[in-house]
Assembly symmetry: C2
Homo-oligomer: 121 residues x 2
Amino acid sequence: MKILKKVVGFYNYLDYSTVMKLSNLAKIFKALSNEQRLKLFRMVYDYQEVNMKPEETLSCCPGMQKTFTKACACMNISRSTISHHLKELQNADLITCTRNGQTYECKVNDEVLEEVKKFLE
Amino acid sequence: MKILKKVVGFYNYLDYSTVMKLSNLAKIFKALSNEQRLKLFRMVYDYQEVNMKPEETLSCCPGMQKTFTKACACMNISRSTISHHLKELQNADLITCTRNGQTYECKVNDEVLEEVKKFLE
DNA sequence: TTTTTAGTTCGATAATATCAAAACAATAAA
DNA sequence: TTTATTGTTTTGATATTATCGAACTAAAAA
């Protein structure tokens, strides 16, 4: 559904559904705009690649579980900061995290990545 | 060229060339993290698509020239702000701008977009 | 039950970003 | 030459973000 708007003197067609998508995209890009967070995101991604060699990843110990713990070990920023960053990645829908007991697992949200790539086409 | 670093107690392999790329990527994402700037970027992109119909773009008047003027007309933010935003997009290498006389032309830097997409693979 | 481990939330602070107004520079038009 | 038009830079006010440490909660281990 498209809502078109014409402004005096210009062909100012605004597709509001696109505008919505833009604000959403901006949020996603913002989540990736901090280097630490980007690294964190990359780590989560790498953890998923079970067969990846350590030297191909940014992680200290590939595998999918205990993202939080591993992040603490790899990056030297405080735990509270890591908690904040992970939350922001979740808010942008870039990753999904679940906690069972003391184990904290994160995985990348592939559909969202697809959306972003589509925008960059 | 890879420089690998091992930290006591962890398999903390850091590929510094990747780290460099990360900081660069973060910069790019930061440039796209502001909604106004993202819209501006999208407009520049759309201007390039000569055959695009008005309703398919975010621009008021498709075509590649006078980006600045058009941006001012379409988005109601001040000229100084637009100047700042365009500069940031340029700093991130996302667009290239040239000025001949009063005409201001911008175009998207496709190689950089490719880099970003590669990261998101 | 007590202690450790794992992660969250709060409060403070420093750094950065956003944006506009005003002064400025360069080009084009009158 | 004078005046508009275009865009830049500086300045400054305000808002947002990054980050830490400390206090806190919940689960697991001792």
